[in-house]
Structure formats: structure tokens, C-alpha cells
């Protein structure tokens, strides 16, 4: 479809403003600093702007379209009531510099959310400031660094241990916090290889980053030993909360030996992903790490005249400092708190149970072409390898995924974790009804069948989607990263066969 710039007609207008009754003095903007060339922003009538974006929305798959079993992403239903409460003017219209007396409800909400997150994770305090999971990780690693420095061991503890199955943000974060990354291999059951961990843990170890259940979807039952090894070496144990969903109300990182955690409110606590953001990545710590938290933090002050009073507590002297402006992604926090209130303690445990049940059921229904990479009972997600199918048919996991798009469902995560050949990582979540799980299973089985009967169709898939397979190599070799009149790519490739003709095989 056309871009909004290609629909622009000079002079068309939508929103306008009355001029001020009194114009600004002529010299308000210094000579030489007044913009002479206006930005080439699009000019459209309002109805055409609306239609442009509606047409674009129709070219998007979303949770509102159907199941979205992306492993490690926890694409659960985003309750619409949360959108309604987040839009309340009493939340959405608050300026972050308002006096505390005018934002008591907002402060109270954050204090209550913090308490709920502490209870859920077994931690003692949280900062709600980090804007996303990756920023939460950075916050956590900077806390680890500050802790060792305060003990006079900053110069010595330069290494962070990261399992080879970890999400890419873990090593990237450790590097950003100034650490050297030391990879720890997995054992044959998909757990951290304890002997290898022991060999790598030393007086240079600052900490270990781990998610449990891990990225292979299995619960590492050696967790207590793992935590003990790192602690004995003098390091801290960091919990990446990407996979908290299946242990809600069942087990808590704080009881497994973790010293600090980050959570992904946009995963576990149902806030929408928005096509890639905003999220929120609060970081929780045990008491001994509390001084290092970023600030200011919302707190309950002493009750005054029987009324609860809330305020903002400045960070302590040892704080790592700010990671984001103001207090974090407040409206994301509102949605997450609404979710927790709606579920209640019992409800959260139900979430974990149904998430694990759904993943086990789906894994079972996929059939022999999708063997588990580790033959163990999965938790909320599972990893299969389609290496055998590839050897037989030449069809790659990527092609199977593209084929699933044609089946009308979203494919799983592919090629992650990196340690599994032709990996597919599947996380159905607890909000998909059994018919939807059956529909997903049928789509998996169907593309495996096509791999045998008509592999070419998968290699050139998808065929029924808003766009056919995109030439990603071209996008990088010949970058076209913004609209430039006369220079950007035309809507149709002048070198391609005329529209309507059979597409040539890729």
C-alpha cells in the first residue's frame, strides 16, 4: 500500500490552532535560528489519515486476531478493561511534577503494586522505574556492580556467568554494565551444567543471570545447588523474570536463592506489547540490596490524622542512580496492577497451572515431526527441533513458520534458543481455549505435511498474507530507511513480473 507521504497533497489540513491574540515579538527567535524550510510532514484530510491507519492495522496480526504462541514472549490476552482504567483522566492526565498532595492515588497505586510484586516474587523491595525488561536487566547488573564495589571487590569481580541458552539481552546487558561474559553450558537435561558452573565460579564472579523455568521451558531442579555455588564464590544470583508466568503462586525466586529479579509486566502481567512497546521491567531485591535501588521511590508515609499519606522517597547515597525519567511507565503499572487485582492470589496460581497445562497439551498434540529438544515435561513453553524434518524434506524451521502464517495463526519463535538446531519455541499461554490449542496443533501438523508433499510452497511461503515473503537481504544491502521523494522504493518493483502474474519462485 502507499505510504502516508505518497497520499499527501500540499495544502490539505486536519487539525489547526487559533493564533494567539498577541503575536510573539519579532525577535523572540534569534536571527539565524528561525527554521526556513518546513519539515516535509504529510498533508491529508482527517478522514484519509484515519483510513490510512485503519488499512495499516488490517495488515497486522495481533492477539485480537488469534493465538500468538511466541515462545518466551507470553502473548496472553490483554484485558480490555485495563485499557479503560489506564485511560481514566485521574491517571492519564497527571503531570509528573505535580505536588504529592495532588497525586495521592497514583502514589498509593505504585506502593500497593510494589507490595504485590514483593509477595509474588519473595523479594523485599522493588523499583518500578525501568521501562522494559532489558532496562530492568541493566538496572539489576548495575546493582550487582555497586554491591561489589561497596564491599571493595569491584575491581576483582569482573565476570558475569550466563547460560548458553540465555536470551541475547543477558550477555548484552552484562557487557553494558561493564562485565565480561562467561558462558555456562547446559547439561543433557537442559539444566545448567553444574560441574561446568563450579569450574567457572571464582573470586572473579560478580554474579549469574538465570531464568527459571529456563529458555528451554524446563524447570531447573538444581536451582538451589546453582545458587549455593555462586553464593559460595561470593557472587549474586540474578533472576530474569521472562518466565515467571508458570510459577505464579507455586514457587518464588526469592525462595530459590535469587538475590534480585526483574519482571516483564508486559508478559506475565498481561499489559499489551503495542507492536514492540511500551513495556515495564520493575526490579526487585532482597533487603541487603535495597540501598542500591534507583530513586525516587513512592512510599507510604506515616499516617496523618488517620489518613494514609504517600510521598516520594529520595534515593539513598549508594543508589546506582536513575535509569529513566520520572517514575517509570506509569500507565503500564496501572494495567498490571489492575490485572493482579482482577486475578487475586488464587487466580494467579490458576494462571500458572493453566499455562503449564496448555503447553503440555499442545506439545503432546503436535505429533512426531516436532520432537521435544529435551525429553522432559515442559512448563509453560517448550522447544522442539525440526532438524529431522529438514534433513528429510529440506524445509527449514523458518519455512514452516512462514507456512503457518498461511494457516491463519501466528507461528512460534524460531531459531531460539541458539543451542538447539532448527529450534521452534512454543508458548500457548493460559488464555487460549482448548479449541484454539487444537487449531494451533492442526496448523503445525499441516505444514509438516506440506513439507513432504509440496516443499516449494513452504520455501516461498507465505502466500495468503498481506505481504509475501520479504527480501530482508535487500533491506540491508540497499537501505531505504525513510521517505525521500523520488528516491524511495516505488510501490511495485519495476523489475518484477506484472501484478497478477504467477510469482516466480524465490
Amino acid at each position: 500500500m502507499k505510504t502516508i507521504f505518497e497520499k499527501s497533497v500540499p495544502g490539505r489540513r486536519a487539525v489547526w490552532f487559533e493564533p494567539a491574540r498577541e503575536a510573539a515579538p519579532a525577535d523572540a527567535v534569534p536571527e539565524g535560528r528561525r527554521r526556513r524550510t518546513p519539515p516535509r510532514l504529510p498533508e491529508l484530510a482527517e478522514v484519509d489519515i484515519l483510513r490510512h491507519y485503519v488499512a495499516m492495522s488490517q495488515r497486522n496480526y495481533s492477539i485480537a486476531s488469534g493465538p500468538y504462541p511466541l515462545g518466551s514472549c507470553t502473548m496472553k490476552y490483554n484485558p480490555v478493561v485495563n485499557e479503560a482504567v489506564a485511560a481514566l483522566p485521574g491517571f492519564a492526565s497527571l503531570h509528573p511534577r505535580q505536588p504529592a498532595a495532588t497525586v495521592q492515588g497514583a502514589l498509593r497505586l505504585m506502593v500497593e503494586l510494589e507490595a504485590a510484586l514483593c509477595e509474588i516474587t519473595g523479594m523485599d523491595a522493588f523499583t518500578l522505574q525501568p521501562a522494559a525488561g532489558a532496562q530492568g536487566e541493566l538496572t539489576g547488573m548495575l546493582i550487582v556492580r555497586a554491591y561489589h564495589r561497596a564491599r571493595g571487590e569491584g575491581g576483582q569481580r569482573t565476570q558475569v556467568l550466563v547460560p548458553d541458552s540465555a536470551h541475547g539481552t543477558n550477555p548484552a546487558t552484562a557487557a553494558m554494565a561493564g562485565f565480561e561474559v562467561v558462558a555456562v553450558p547446559s547439561d543433557r537435561r537442559g539444566n545448567v551444567d553444574v560441574a561446568a558452573l563450579r569450574a567457572r565460579a571464582s573470586e572473579r564472579t560478580a554474579g549469574l543471570m538465570l531464568t527459571n523455568p529456563n529458555t528451554l521451558g524446563v524447570f531447573d531442579d538444581g536451582i538451589e545447588e546453582i545458587a549455593a555455588i555462586v553464593h559460595e564464590a561470593g557472587g549474586l544470583v540474578y533472576y530474569d523474570g521472562a518466565n515467571l508466568n508458570p510459577i505464579l503462586g507455586v514457587a518464588r525466586p526469592g525462595d530459590m536463592g535469587f538475590d534480585l529479579v526483574h519482571l516483564n509486566l508486559h508478559k506475565t502481567f498481561s499489559t499489551p506489547h503495542g507492536g514492540g512497546g511500551p513495556g515495564a521491567g520493575p526490579v526487585g531485591v532482597k533487603d541487603f540490596l535495597r540501598p542500591y535501588l534507583p530513586g525516587p521511590r513512592p512510599v507510604r508515609l506515616a499516617a496523618r490524622e488517620g489518613q494514609e499519606e504517600y510521598g516520594l522517597e529520595p534515593p539513598s547515597e549508594s543508589s546506582i542512580g536513575r535509569v529513566r525519567s520520572f517514575y517509570g511507565n506509569f500507565l503500564v503499572l496501572v494495567r498490571a496492577y489492575a490485572y493482579i487485582l482482577a486475578q487475586g492470589g488464587e487466580g494467579l496460581r490458576r494462571v500458572a497451572e493453566d499455562a503449564v497445562l496448555a503447553a503440555n497439551y499442545l506439545a503432546h498434540e503436535l505429533g512426531p515431526d516436532y520432537p521435544l529438544a529435551y525429553d522432559r515435561r515442559p512448563m509453560h513453553e517448550f522447544v522442539v527441533s525440526t532438524a529431522a524434518l529438514k534433513r528429510e524434506t529440506g524445509v527449514r524451521a523458518l519455512d514452516l513458520a512462514k507456512g503457518m502464517c498461511d494457516e491463519g495463526v501466528h507461528p512460534p519463535t524460531v531459531y531460539f534458543p541458539l543451542t538447539v538446531e532448527e529450534a521452534m519455541m512454543v508458548e500457548p499461554t493460559e488464555t487460549e481455549a482448548v479449541e484454539n490449542l487444537d487449531r494451533l496443533a492442526a496448523a503445525f501438523r499441516r505444514v509438516a505435511e506440506i513439507a513432504r508433499t509440496d516443499p516449494e510452497r513452504l520455501r516461498t511461503a507465505p502466500h495468503r498474507t498481506p505481504a509475501a515473503r520479504l527480501d530482508e537481504a535487500r533491506a540491508t544491502r540497499h537501505p531505504d530507511l525513510r521517505y525521500r521523494p523520488g528516491l524511495s522504493l516505488p510501490e511495485r518493483d519495476p523489475q518484477a513480473a506484472p501484478a497478477g502474474a504467477a510469482a516466480p519462485p524465490a
Binding site: 498577541e22 510532514l41 484515519l50 501466528h410 518484477a496
Partner: protein, 448 residues
């Protein structure tokens, strides 16, 4: 409220298929010793009706800019938001999509990102803008990291007139990478002290960071700052206000190498500080060093133009510890809001918003400065924020304003001890002449 789909019968049938007696058997790998063994101590779940009542009561315990007239600025701006923005951003197809990894079924999100990149490149006058950052503050910090890696140097010079929260985030990030941050003050009138700057920048400096307008609202000597940076081979990083760019020469014209800023003024609610939107634009030569997502146009197998994420090898999921940043999300939904905002206003509407802000702010400043005991803190040109010295303590002014239903006058002394008692006001196009009258009258009362 339960968002679970299974009936008791569904669960029973699924367990039967798995040949498992009870759902607890699925948790066999969780050692008994780490189990919680008790219910979570959280209140019982609420019905939707009860949930809405509960959340509404928390919301009603606040008094926001829907009930108070906002003259606060300092990193968050109360601008008018067209209805179209909410309409588009609320569409579930955008709201509930994931990061567009499967490009063929994510063309809506990808095209929206590409159009956002285009608009931000236009607005800033830079060659390329990426898909967005968490907020303006982390964008400043990431710009410093980019400059360090591009120049192989490790000293960052930031003007003290750059937003204090951005400088705080910069210090946090810089500590991780081992960068040194040096700050340079102003001449007392809010504009950069160029002599002090020239003395601070050396051949080990990777970046000079300048805000235009700066935190005091002052239009900076930005081109001169860029010149000092370039004299020593450092990059000039500009933190800019996207609406001000309708009337001010953009950083791409005056020599910045990286332009970043807070995108909240572009149609994003104040929301007590977030979620907001960082933007990040660079000169062509720096494209491969960009943090975060980038969308590019390409063709599909049918020869139709489409969009895909590009230059992904910069990113953490491929380069791991050698990535340009650990950032993984962008703020796609807010970038969409900004795009709809900019499309709704167009070049003319944006200019009208900027001119109206400029005019109302100057009228307000002139009248406040004429009140007994009041004066402008800085004798320098400004856009739509300005600092005022009052004849009475800041708290008294703020309290009087609040009594009259007005928000304004944050105390610069919180971040600049030498400016204690200076009050920062923002007057945007969302204000009216009558509201300015009320502000002036309330200030007169406070000063009496």
C-alpha cells in the same frame, strides 16, 4: 475477573490426553523445598465491576490536568492531543501485536515505524531516525554510548543546562561502560558558557551534549557548541524539543551528529511520567552504530513494496555481548501516536502549535516580569518555557497557584542549588489567554 478459558471439563479432558492424573503432576520438576506451600497473600480476585470501582477510586484520589490548569514543564509537556491519536492507538490490531518479527503479518506495525522514522528525520533534519527509545533521557545516554564507540574515546562533556534527569540517566549508563562525564555550566543567563566549554573539550572527548531549547527553556548557542565539539573530533549530541523544531533550525542544519529527545509532546498523555517516547536520529555515517530497531523498505516475492526490520546484526539477539545496546523493545505504540499526531497537524498545524506556544509564553513572561518583585531569571531568548524569580519563596507561590486551580512553577533549586527559588513555567498552545490571566493574577497575589 478471570481471563482463563478452560472449563473444569476442558481441564479434565486435557489431563486425560496427557495421561496425567492431576495438574500438580505437571509441576513435578519444582523441588518441594522451593515451593511456596501456601496461597499468595493477595486479596481475592475482583469482578470487572468491582475492579473498575477500585481503580476509579484510586484515580479520583488524584487531581490532574483535567481539573487543574497546567503550566508545568521540565521534561513533560501538556499539549493538545487530537482525538484521532487515541482512536488509532486504541485499535487492538496495533495495541496487542508483538514486535514485528514475522514481517509478512506485521506490515501495519512495520510501515508505521518506517513512517515514524521518516517524520523524525524530517523534523530533526538528520539523515536517519530509528524506531524509538524508552524515553528522552535514555536516548541521551545511548547517544553518549554511540559516540564513545564511534570515536573510540571515553570522555563525555554535557552542558549542565541539559535536562537533569537525562544527565542522571547518562551518569548511570556511563558508569557501566566506564565513561567519564564532565559537566559545563552556563553564563548565568541560561546560555552555554562557550569559553568554559572550549576549555573542557579535548581530544579525548567523544561527545558534547547540548539541549536546544535547554532545561531553562532558553534557545541555546547550539551551532557554536557544535563547532567546539567538531574542533576536537567529538560528536555533537543535541537534545531537542520536537514541537520547537517547527520554528527553530533543526539540529541537522546546525551541525549536530546525533539528535535525540523526548517525544511525549507529540500526542502522548502526561500519564504521571510514562510511558513516553525517545527519538534518536543520526547522520548517515553512524547508521550501523544505532541502538534499537530500524525498519527498512524492500520488496516481497510478488514485487510489492513492504517493510522489514533491518541491520539486525547490531542488536542483542544476534550480537549478544557485542551488540550496540541491550535494548530490545522500542516504543512502537507511542511512535505510532507521534506519527498520527504529526500527520494530523501536518507542517502547518505543527507550526501553528509552535507559534501559539511561543506567543502565549512570551505574553505570559512579559506580564509576569512586570509584576512587583518578579523578574525573568534569564535574559536570553526562549521558546515556551521560562524561569522566573519571585519575591517570595517557591513553596508559597506554588501553594497559591494550587489554591487557584493552577499547576506551575517547579523550583529549579531541586537540581540547580544556585538557582534556588527560580520557578519554571511552561505555556503551550493548549493554554488560553484567560488561563494566562489567571496565572498572572495568582502570581500577583502570591507576591503581595
Amino acid at each position: 475477573m478471570s481471563y482463563l478459558a478452560h472449563t473444569a471439563d476442558d481441564r479434565r479432558r486435557m489431563l486425560e490426553r496427557l495421561d496425567v492424573a492431576d495438574v500438580s503432576d505437571l509441576f513435578a520438576d519444582v523441588p518441594e523445598s522451593v515451593r511456596l506451600g501456601r496461597p499468595l497473600r493477595l486479596p481475592p480476585g475482583l469482578s470487572e465491576a468491582a475492579l473498575v470501582r477500585r481503580m476509579a477510586s484510586l484515580a479520583e484520589a488524584n487531581r490532574g490536568t483535567d481539573r487543574l490548569v497546567c503550566f508545568l514543564g521540565g521534561g513533560a509537556t501538556d499539549r493538545f492531543i487530537p482525538a484521532l491519536v487515541r482512536e488509532v492507538v486504541g485499535r487492538a490490531e496495533f495495541l496487542t501485536a508483538y514486535t514485528p518479527y514475522q514481517a509478512e503479518i506485521s506490515q501495519g506495525t512495520l510501515q508505521a515505524i518506517w513512517e515514524f522514522q521518516s517524520m523524525m528525520a524530517e523534523l530533526t533534519g538528520m539523515d536517519v531516525a530509528q524506531a524509538s527509545m524508552y524515553d528522552g533521557a535514555s536516548a541521551v545516554a545511548e547517544a553518549a554510548l554511540l559516540a564513545a564507540s564511534a570515536t573510540g574515546r571515553s570522555r563525555v562533556v554535557a552542558l549542565r543546562s541539559v535536562d537533569p534527569q537525562s544527565r542522571a540517566v547518562l551518569r548511570t549508563y556511563a558508569a557501566g561502560r566506564g565513561l567519564e562525564v564532565v559537566e559545563v555550566g552556563d553564563r548565568g543567563d541560561g546560555r552555554a558558557d562557550l569559553d568554559a566549554l572550549a576549555a573542557a573539550v579535548d581530544d579525548a572527548t567523544c561527545a558534547v551534549i547540548v539541549a536546544d531549547p535547554n532545561f531553562f527553556g532558553v534557545i541555546e548557542a547550539a551551532p557554536e557548541v557544535a563547532e567546539v565539539a567538531h574542533r576536537h573530533g567529538a560528536l555533537c549530541v543535541a537534545q531537542v524539543d520536537p514541537v520547537a523544531l517547527a520554528v527553530l533550525t533543526p539540529p541537522g542544519e546546525w551541525g549536530a551528529d546525533v539528535a535525540v529527545g523526548e517525544g511525549q509532546p507529540l500526542g502522548i498523555p502526561l500519564a504521571y511520567g510514562g510511558p513516553y517516547l525517545g527519538f534518536f536520529a543520526v547522520r548517515e555515517a553512524l547508521v550501523r552504530r544505532l541502538p534499537g530497531r530500524l525498519a527498512g523498505a524492500t520488496y516481497d516475492a510478488r514485487g510489492e513494496r513492504g517493510f522489514a526490520l533491518t541491520f539486525q546484526t547490531r542488536e542483542q539477539h544476534i550480537r549478544r555481548e557485542r551488540a550496540t545496546s541491550n535494548i530490545c523493545t522500542n516504543q512502537a505504540l507511542l511512535a505510532l501516536a507521534a506519527s498520527v499526531y504529526l500527520a494530523s497537524l501536518g507542517p502547518q498545524g505543527l507550526r501553528e502549535a509552535a507559534e501559539r506556544s511561543l506567543a502565549l509564553a512570551h505574553a505570559a513572561a512579559r506580564r509576569i516580569a512586570a509584576l512587583p518583585g518578579y523578574r525573568l531569571a534569564n535574559e536570553a531568548p526562549f521558546f515556551d518555557e521560562f524561569a522566573v524569580r519571585a519575591p517570595v519563596p517557591a513553596e508559597r507561590v506554588q501553594a497559591t497557584l494550587l489554591r487557584h486551580g493552577l499547576l506551575g512553577g517547579s523550583d529549579l533549586g531541586e537540581d540547580y542549588p544556585e538557582r534556588r527559588g527560580e520557578l519554571l513555567f511552561a505555556v503551550t498552545e493548549a493554554r488560553t489567554e484567560e488561563e494566562v490571566d489567571r496565572l498572572v493574577a495568582a502570581l500577583e497575589e502570591a507576591g503581595a
